[in-house]
C-alpha cells in the first residue's frame, strides 16, 4: 500500500509517539522510519528519495531546533516540528529557518498530514531543481572556452555584429559559435538560453546600447 517514492523520518524520544505516528502515516500510505534521538537520525543511512522530517523539539541528546541549525548547511528534508510545550519565540525561530510547520502536541492529524505532504512536495521540487541544475552544469561544462565567452554576450542581447566586435572575430565565426552554444545547451530558443544562463548565474555584462559612459 505504501510506495517507495518517498519517506518520512520521525525523531521523537517517546516510543508511544513514534509508534502512533508511524501507524498514522502508514494508514495514509506514507512510508516512515522512526528514530529515538537526534544522533540516531544523523548517523542513520537514509534512502535517497523525496523525504520529510517530523522532529520533536525536546530530545534527550540535543534540542530539535539545534539539530535544525546543524543540518541547515547541507541539503536536508523539510522539517515539521512537534513539541510538548510550544512557545512563540522557538516556533518563530524554527519557521524562519525554513521549517514547514510547528505543531504543538496534541496536534490534529490533518495538520500533521498536510504539513508532511507539503514537506514532501517541497522536497520533490527541490530535488527536481537540483537535478535540473546538475544537468545544466553538465551541459555548460561541455562548452569550449570560446563558446563560454560567446554565451554571456549573446544572452546580454548584443547583436551578432557587436558581439563579434567585442571578441575581435568575424560575424560569421560568431554565428557558428552561437549555434553550437544553443545546440550544446539544448536550448530551444534564445529565450530558453537566457533562462538557463540566469540559473547558472552567468552575469549580463553588456548592453546593446553600448557601455555606459
Amino acid at each position: 500500500m505504501t510506495t517507495n517514492d518517498h519517506i518520512v523520518f520521525i525523531v521523537d524520544d517517546d516510543a508511544r509517539i513514534r509508534e502512533a505516528l508511524t501507524e498514522l502515516l502508514e494508514a495514509h500510505g506514507i512510508r516512515s522510519i522512526a528514530y529515538g534521538s537526534a544522533g540516531e537520525y544523523v548517523r542513520a543511512e537514509k534512502p535517497d528519495v523525496p523525504a520529510s522530517l517530523i522532529l520533536d523539539v525536546e530530545l534527550p541528546d540535543i534540542n530539535g531546533l539545534d539539530l535544525q541549525k546543524q543540518i541547515a548547511k547541507g541539503s536536508h528534508p523539510p522539517i515539521v516540528f512537534i513539541t510538548g510545550y510550544g512557545d512563540i519565540p522557538s516556533s518563530v525561530r524554527a519557521i524562519k529557518r525554513g521549517a514547514v510547520d510547528f505543531l504543538t502536541k496534541p496536534f490534529s492529524n490533518d495538520d500533521l498530514l498536510n504539513a508532511v505532504q507539503t514537506g514532501l512536495a517541497q522536497d520533490r521540487e527541490a530535488r527536481l531543481e537540483r537535478a535540473e541544475m546538475t544537468a545544466l552544469l553538465e551541459r555548460y561544462s561541455a562548452l569550449t572556452p570560446r563558446e563560454r565567452d560567446v554565451l554571456p554576450l549573446v544572452v546580454s542581447g548584443l547583436l551578432n555584429k557587436q558581439a563579434a566586435a567585442e571578441l575581435g572575430i568575424s560575424e560569421v565565426t560568431l554565428q557558428i559559435h552561437r549555434r553550437n552554444v544553443l545546440h550544446k545547451m539544448q536550448a530551444a530558443s534564445l529565450a530558453d538560453l537566457v533562462r538557463m544562463a540566469e540559473k547558472l548565474q552567468i552575469p549580463i555584462t553588456h548592453s546593446r546600447r553600448g557601455p555606459e559612459s
Binding site: 517517546d14 502512533a20 510538548g84 510545550y85 502536541k105 492529524n109
Partner: protein, 693 residues
Amino acid sequence: MKASPYIRGEADWYAPTAATMMCVWSHRPQLLHLAIFFSAYVLGCGFAEALRIVPGITVSIWPPGGVFIATLILTSPYSWPWWMLAGCLAEMFGQLVWFHSPLPAGFLIYVGNALCAAVGATLVNRICGRPVWLETLREVLAFVVLGAGVAPLVSATVGSATLAWFGVSSQTFTAVWPLFWVGDATGILLVTPLALVVIQQWRAKAQLSAAQWIEAGVLGLIFLGVAALSLSNYYLPFAYIIMPPLLWAAVRFEFKGVAVALTLLALMTMALTISGDSQFVGDPESQRQKQVMLQLFLVISAFSALIVAAISRQHQQAVLTLRQSERSLRELLETLPTHIWCTTPDGKPIYFSQQFRDFVGFNVEDKDADGASRPSNVLNAIIHPDDRDTVNALFAHSLATGEPYARKHRLRRFDGQYRWVETRASAMRNSNGALVQWNGVCLDIDDQMHAADALRRASEKLAQATQAASLAELSASIAHEVNQPLAAIVANSNACQRWLDSDPPNLERAQVTVRRIIRDVNAAADVVSRIRALFRQSVETKTSAALPSVIAEARSLMADEAAQRRVRIDADVENDLPRVTFDRIQIQQVLINLLRNGIDAMELIAGERILWMRVRRVGDVVQTEISDCGRGIEFPDKIFEPFFTTKQSGMGMGLAICRSIVESHGGRLRAENNKPHGATFIFTLPVDEKAAS
C-alpha cells in the same frame, strides 16, 4: 655625683682582676663631684665638732656618715674606691683641724666609717633596687632599719674599739659604743634623705603653685618659731613640741619638706647648742645624758617625719591612680559610640552619657521654665506614641521585679526625627543584693531597622515571584506529561479510523491501534491521578495511631514492584513504639515515595539490592530511616526543591511534597549519604504528648 647603672656582676666585685681594675678606672667620678663630696664631708666633720659638747667624749652626731652612705647608694660599686679615698682625705683633714686623735686611731675610725657606708649602701640597694627614691613605706623602712640602724653597728664597733685601744681621752669601749652608734644613726637619718632628695629630685623642677609657696612660707616661719622656742631652754622646755609642724611639712611637702625641715632643725639645734642656749646644754654631770637625749630627739624626729612622708606619698599615689582610673572610666563612658544612662532604683535619671545628651538634646540636670526637671517632663514624651505604653509597662515591670529590660522602640531625637533605638538595662546591686541603680544602653538601630525592612520586602517579592514561576513551570510540566499520551492517542485513533475505512477494513491493524489507544489513555489518566494525589488535601483528619501498621502496609504495597526489580525490603521496627498523630494516606504516600526512590536508586547497581527500613524512638519523636545502597545523592541540598529531578521521567515534585507533608505533621525530613555508598532518607514524627507523658 654620677649615678652609673648598676649592672656589673658581684663576682667581679669580690675578685679584683685586671678587668675589675679597668672598671674602677673607667668609673672614676668627675673631679667636681669628688670636690663637692670632700667639702660636704669636711662640713659634716665641722658640724659634729660643733655639737661635741660632752667633755671628755670625742663622738657626737656624725653627719659625714649620712653624706657617705647617700653617695655610695647613688653610685656604682666600681667607683666606690674613689669616694673612699676622698672620704679618707676629708676625715684626716678633720682629724688634723678639730679632733686631734692620733693618726693611726683616726685612720682606723675612718675605716670603720667607710665599712659602715659600704654595708649600708649595699643593703639598701639590695632591698630597694636602683634608683632609691625613698617613695614607698618599704623603702623608707629598709633605709631606716638597714641604712641607719644596722650599718652604724660596724662603725660604732670599730670606732669604739679604736678609741678604747688608743685610750683617747681615757674612754672605755662600753661607754663610747652607744653614743657612737646613736651619733652615726642620727647623722645618717638627718643627712641621707636630704642628700638623696637634693641629688635626685631637685633636678626635676618641682612646680609649686602660689598657694603652696605661701603655705611653705607660713610653715617655715611656724617651724622656725616653734623650733626656736622649744629648743631653747627659756620658754617651752619640751623639745618634742616641734613634732606637729614637722609632720605638717612631711604630709604636705613629703620628702622635700622633710629634708628641708630636718636640716633646719639640725642647724637650729647646732646654733643653740653652740650658743649654749639649748635645753640640751647643762652642767657637766647631766651633759652626757643630755647628749643622748639630743641625739634621740633628732633620731625620733627624723624617723617619724620620714615614715609620715612615705605614707603621705603612698596615699597621694593611690589617690592619683584612683583619680586617673576614674577619669579614664568616665572618658570611656562618654566616648563609647552608644548612649549610656543610669537611673535611680525607682527610674529617675541620674546620668546621661555625652552621646545620649547629644541625641536627646538635654541633660539630667536641665530644668524647664517651670522649674521642673526636664528629663521627667520630656523623657516620656519623646518615646513614639505608638510605643509609649508598652515601653512604660515593660520598664515599670523591670523596676518592680528587678528583671533586665530590653526593648526596641522609636525615640525622638533633638531635631524632632523619630529613630529606632534598642534599649537594654540591667540592675546594679550592692554586695547585699539590694538594688542600687539601673544602668542602661540605648543603641541607635534606625539604619538597621530600615535595611531589615527593605530586605523583608524584597524577600516577600522574591517569594511571590518564585511562587508564580513555580506555578508556570508546574503547569508546563503537567501539560507535557499529559500531552505526550494525548498526541499518541489522537494519531492512533486516526490511524485506526483509516484502517477501518479502507476496503476491505484492515481489522488486524485497527485492533493494534485500539490497544495502543487504550494503553495511552490509561497512561494519561495515571498522570492525572498522580497529580491529583500530589495536591490532594486529605479530608481524613489526623488520627493517633501506631506507625508500624502503616509501614507494613506500605511494604506490602511495594512488595510486587520491589520483587520485579529484584530489590529486597528489610524492616527493623522497634517494639512498643509510642503512638503518633498522622494522616494515614499522606504518610503512606511519603513512605511509598521514599521506597520507590530507593528502588530507583539501585536500578543500576550490580550487587545485592537491599532497601533497609528502620523505625525507632529517638527522644520525643519516632524516627523512620529508609536506606538504599545506590549511588548516593549528588545534591543533598537541592533534592527537596520542587522540580529538581535526576530521573529521565520525573517531575521533581515527589520529595518536595514529602517534605511538606512531614513538616505539616510537625516532623522533619532530611537526606544523608551513607558510607561507603547509598543514601538514607530520615523523617521524624512527634510522639503524642498524651502517650509521652
